[in-house]
């Protein structure tokens, strides 16, 4: 009972501290919120890409004897004016390259597309030098990638039409049929239109833009909304990072008590020292659990994040709590004073967080393989991996190994820290 009283007292202390609440809940939500708004915000409850302003300079001309109805440049240009991209692409034509580049330099547009004068002619004879120039504001990432993808898709369609036509003509000749050259432009136009529609269905969707940024790992089930997935991984990283901070800072109350004399006073009461330490540890556990629950619920309702199956979430959260509390107890047991604690914990936990991949949690495949190996030596790395698996829909049975590792790491650290504390306050 006294253990619970001590834990409740510590929790009251923590939750009355603006700094503690800020570190536990506000900071991770704020950081995730910033990323959320960077991805387009929460307008109308539906995720959307911020509108990309595209400037177009189409100099392409119809080549002589081309079996086309219009130059390819016209097709590329018109692609940016169709209704399906209107909510997220605002396109405008420019008369010359100078005005287009100036508009890009002055950030009136985010992406500039230049289709050269003889593009159709060069492309149709298979000249690899033929190219559409795409320039972008270096501060943007997703918008230019989407535009690049659209242009490439369109040109793939044209190439596909050419190949289809060659194949048709080859088969007609092989079967002694005279090629019907009169209908070739219509066929090519038809193929290109079909391909454009196909691509539009596939990629002319803002959510697919995020899909480009987060390629799924093999064997994982993709969530229906990639932006939500990015947000989920981002908040997971933040949640883990701050959970470890919360565990350590909650445990630091024992140093505060030691310095303020209240720990010594507790030892003068008929309360067993084990019960006192257990109370402190319990407060750390509850703090990290509550923080995790608040962030999970907030992440779901504020950012629409789907965390995964409840059983998997429970397993990941439990592992996170044990690992974060264990590391907090271990680190604080070797810290001499609360003054020393701030920099030691700040530096140590940030370094471990970075090594564990928490700073790049929304880009799971971005780190080199060596870093992924190093992450395996940090509790943060295992916690992150577990959350990534849960969010990717991995079955609970697949989570047992990482959970066991988290549990083992947490318990070992907790035991070592407890022994150090007992020795210190014996």
């Amino acid at each position: 009972m006294k253990t619970l009283d001590i834990a409740l007292k510590d929790l009251t202390h923590s939750f009355r501290s603006v700094f503690a609440v800020g570190m536990m809940v506000v900071a991770p939500l704020m950081l995730t919120g910033l990323i959320y708004f960077a991805f387009g915000g929460i307008s109308s409850g539906e995720q959307s890409m911020p509108a990309v302003k595209v400037g177009l300079l189409n100099l392409d001309e119809m080549p002589a004897n081309a079996q086309l109805e219009v130059p390819l440049g016209d097709n590329i240009r018109s692609m940016f004016f169709v209704g399906s991209v209107a909510p997220w692409i605002t396109a405008s034509d420019y008369a010359d390259e100078t005005s287009l580049r100036r508009a890009l330099d002055e950030q009136e547009i985010g992406v500039a597309v230049i289709i050269p004068k003889d593009f159709s002619a060069q492309y149709l004879i298979g000249n690899k030098e033929a190219q559409v120039v795409v320039m972008s504001d270096p501060t943007l990432s997703i918008g230019p990638a989407v535009v690049q993808n659209m242009v490439t898709s369109m040109l793939d369609g044209v190439s596909g039409a050419g190949i289809a036509l060659e194949t048709l003509q080859f088969r007609q000749q092989a079967n002694g049929i005279q090629p019907d050259t009169a209908h070739i432009p219509a066929w090519m136009e038809g193929y290109t239109t079909w391909y454009a529609d196909f691509q539009r269905t596939l990629f002319h969707n803002p959510n697919q833009a995020a899909f480009i940024m987060v390629a799924p790992s093999a064997g994982q089930t993709e969530t229906t909304d990639p932006i939500q997935k990015v947000m989920g991984l981002t908040l997971a990283g933040q949640m883990i990072f701050f959970a470890f901070f919360s565990g350590a800072f909650a445990m630091m109350s024992i140093l505060d008590e030691s310095e303020n004399g209240t720990l010594a006073r507790l030892f003068t009461t008929p309360t067993d020292r084990t019960a006192i330490l257990a109370g402190k540890f319990l407060a750390v556990f509850i703090t990290v659990i509550m923080q995790g629950l608040v962030l999970l619920v907030a992440g779901h309702y504020v950012f629409g994040i789907s965390w995964g199956e409840p059983a998997g979430v429970a397993l990941a959260l439990t592992g996170q709590v044990i690992a974060a509390s264990g590391l907090g107890v271990l680190m604080i047991s070797f810290v001499k004073s609360s003054r020393q604690g701030g920099p030691v914990l700040g530096g140590g936990l940030t370094a471990l967080g970075m090594l564990g991949g928490l700073m790049t949690s929304n880009m799971p495949n971005a780190l080199p393989a060596a870093m992924n190996t190093i992450a395996k030596f940090t509790p943060q790395g295992w916690v992150l991996e577990t959350w990534q698996m849960v969010m990717a829909g991995s079955p609970v049975t697949d989570l047992l190994v990482p959970f066991a590792v988290m549990l083992g790491m947490g318990l070992v650290m907790f035991t070592l820290g407890s022994l150090q504390f007992r020795k210190r306050f014996a």
Partner: protein, 311 residues
């Protein structure tokens, strides 16, 4: 029955012998003043009594319970008021008292009513909902004492409870101690304020350099000094210049200097003072103030150790 019984208590920290073979007792229902300069071993002795430190040798009992063999029972009989404020500043006075009451095993309505009583005793019932961190030093001291009274301990140890507080709060605390003692509580009170020890204590124990050097009632201790008078002198120059001369002056039994103030014990101040003035004049040392006092506890300490207690 003795409420506190200390038998051959020793505590060493490496080579440092902080407490050496200390034995004394505190009778049930009395106030014992424990005096001594910094480093005398008072706090170490109290830490062993309250279970914070284990004795290297020896033992002590609180209401018959050994602090080494039955620590929980000993602690249950004991309330400790630490020298520094040991409270939670972000909890209110009431929340602090409720928490400390629980640590002594109080629960439910009994705890609530006892907290009400203690708030009344310490005179903070009207400020009970305010956070302790916002209190003045004196008010914090009162809560600090209140937290040790919740379980109605048979014995209370107060470690310098009036350090650094305003006269009003100091008076309130001293009155509290007397009232608690009148209600039957045994008090072990450490202080370096002689007048507090003299006012409150039935018996006084004096410690120096880890040893008990005197024990008795106020009057018994004063008789150790005999008929000697204490003379406090302030000079306008360094005391080292004249101290060796005065030390050899006939009739001066003990003399010591602290912070520019010289304290001397003399058999007959009327005969000694002219000699001191003469030698000061010869050495061109000017006496700026002189104060002749009847023997007190400081005189006793000077008599026993050759050093002023304020050391």
């Amino acid at each position: 029955m003795n409420a506190i019984e200390i038998k051959n208590l020793n505590k060493s920290f490496g080579d440092l012998k902080a407490v050496q073979d200390v034995s004394f007792h505190v009778q049930t229902g009395e106030v014992l003043g424990l005096l001594g300069p910094n480093g005398a071993g008072k706090s170490t002795t109290i830490s062993m009594l309250s279970g914070l430190l284990n004795p290297t040798n020896g033992d002590a009992t609180i209401m018959g319970h050994s602090v080494t063999k039955e620590p929980a029972a000993a602690k249950a009989s004991l309330g400790v008021v630490p020298q520094d404020i040991a409270l939670y500043p972000d909890l209110s006075a009431r929340e602090n008292l409720l928490f400390w009451g629980k640590m002594y095993g109080l629960r439910g309505p009994a705890l609530q009513s006892r907290v009400d009583e203690v708030l009344s005793i310490i005179g903070l019932a009207d400020r009970q909902k305010d956070k302790v961190g916002k209190f003045s030093g004196g008010m914090k001291r009162r809560v600090n004492i209140g937290a040790a009274l919740l379980h109605k301990p048979a014995v209370i140890i107060m470690d310098e409870p009036t350090v650094g507080i305003d006269p009003q709060s100091r008076r309130h605390i001293l009155d509290n101690v007397k009232e608690l003692n009148q209600q039957g509580m045994t008090v072990l009170y450490t202080t370096h304020y002689m007048e507090e020890a003299a006012e409150l204590s039935h018996h006084i124990a004096i410690m120096d350099q880890g040893k008990l050097i005197a024990y008795g009632t106020y009057n018994e201790l004063i008789t150790l000094v005999g008929e000697q008078t204490r003379i406090d002198i302030t000079l306008n120059s360094e005391a080292e210049k004249i101290l060796p001369t005065w030390r050899k002056t006939l009739g001066v039994s003990k003399i010591d200097e602290t912070d520019g103030r010289i304290t001397a014990l003399a058999d007959d101040s009327n005969r000694i003072l002219p000699r001191l003035f003469d030698s000061a004049a010869e050495m061109d040392v000017r006496i700026t103030s002189i104060d002749i006092q009847e023997p007190n506890l400081e005189t006793v300490f000077l008599h026993l150790t050759g050093r002023a207690l304020r050391d």
